[in-house]
């Protein structure tokens, strides 16, 4: 980094652009979670039977759980590359607020692994027999849900950075905390599939997103500092 400290906005954009271009370069990073999502969703009809009513009833739950798992797959590498090549230490020491960098990295992660899920989800929803009227709600609810999950996951990834087999531990830490997202996300879709208003659940999801957006980067950066303060323990 240059001597002159970059402004907050330009620093934020720089980290965002850096992470996006690194991510785009490796196809696996954004394609593998997407494939995982598609495969897991298509396993469910094989497991519970092809009856359309039953599939439509469990469709929101299937989509949400699969999306959560697909996002978790790529989360443990959120800070791993940066830790391995030492950039993370520079971030911790640098003049940009660490929470801002975390936020940029989270947004980049979401763009690469959450957004593709979002684009593909209506297709899978139709395959599961969800009524077309619920698709708008589905995309909106899934967007807030995956964003919240990226933010929560950043805390988990920051806590487990540098550990062996951190992926499983990360899931243990984060999955119980995703319960509200699961409840309100599927609640919104189920409500609109049955012809009710999904406003309440969508607004609650949005408020949780605002809450996570404001606090999760702070918690994640505190966790990164905690890990960085100690000698390497991997």
């Amino acid at each position: 980094m240059s001597d002159e400290a970059p402004g907050l906005a330009s620093g934020f954009l720089r980290v965002l652009r850096r992470d996006l271009s690194i991510g785009c370069r490796s196809i696996g990073q954004w394609l593998n979670p997407l494939l995982f999502f598609v495969i897991v969703v298509s396993l469910f009809p094989l497991g519970v039977g092809p009856s359309p009513e039953r599939l439509a009833a469990i469709a929101p739950g299937v989509l949400w759980v699969s999306a959560l798992l697909a996002m978790l797959l790529s989360l443990d590498s959120l800070f791993e590359q940066d830790r391995a090549d030492g950039v993370l230490d520079q971030f911790v020491l640098g003049r940009l607020p660490l929470s801002l960098i975390v936020l940029a990295k989270v947004l980049a992660h979401w763009t690469l692994s959450g957004l593709p899920l979002l684009v593909l989800s209506p297709l899978l929803a139709i395959m599961l027999g969800l009524p077309a009227t619920a698709l708008g709600t589905l995309v909106l609810a899934l967007m807030s849900s995956t964003l919240i999950l990226s933010l929560l996951g950043a805390i988990g990834a920051a806590l487990t950075v540098g550990l062996n087999r951190s992926g499983v531990l990360l899931s243990l830490l984060i999955l119980p905390m995703t319960v509200p997202v699961l409840i309100f996300g599927t609640g919104a879709v189920s409500a609109s599939a049955e012809g009710y208003s999904a406003h309440a659940a969508l607004l609650l999801l949005a408020s949780m997103l605002m809450f996570a957006l404001s606090l999760a980067p702070l918690a994640a950066s505190a966790a990164l500092r905690a890990g960085a303060s100690a000698p390497d323990q991997s």
Partner: protein, 252 residues
Amino acid sequence: MFKWIHRFGSPPVVYRLCSLFSPWLGVAAAACLLAGLWLGLVVAPPDYEQGESYRIIYVHVPAAWMSMFVYVSMAVSSAVFLIWRLKVADVAAAAMAPIGAAFTAVALLTGSLWGKPMWGTWWVWDARLTSELLLLFLYLGYMALRGALADPAGASTSAGARSAAILAVVGIVNIPIIHYSVEWWNTLHQPSTITRMDKPAMHISMLRPLLLMAAGAQLLFFYNLTVRLRSGLLQREARARWVRDLADKHAT
């Protein structure tokens, strides 16, 4: 104030206080629990609706209360550690986690045992049982993180301590959100077909043992905490002067 905190929070002082109180807490906990069990299982009359099986609340309800109380204490202790860097607070939080997880597991087990005669199944996705299950997951995650960040000898590292403390604080922020969303989910999916345990004004002969058992569970927690805190402090401070002096005194 700060001077007081640091003096009171110094490991040898805490160790000595724990050694002093531990036996008394143990005796008091045993007395409360035995008296509560006797009053609850023998003296209290059977419930006119639930018969004898309601008596499981004398274990279930105190355990459920303690499962919440211990998590809050753990989070407060972790926050104290994060803010004032009191080593003792971290040792205390580490000591509390398994106790809290045990109380949570007992609450879940007794809840399911109570559910069999009352609901006809071992498990119902009732709001309280589900919240309790998620609480158990949070405890287990906390303990798993601590375990993963410990050094090979099993003692915690400074990074591990701070990470675990952050997780506990994040957890306590999330618990109300999780709890109320589970309640919302429950009312959405299960209109109240189940007889709840909402107790309409308990008779004093049933309430007294419950309060005794709750006090006993609290004392049991503090007794366990002092025991675990002492061993935790000895392990963490194994190289400190006061521990060596203590070991020398025991050796002679």
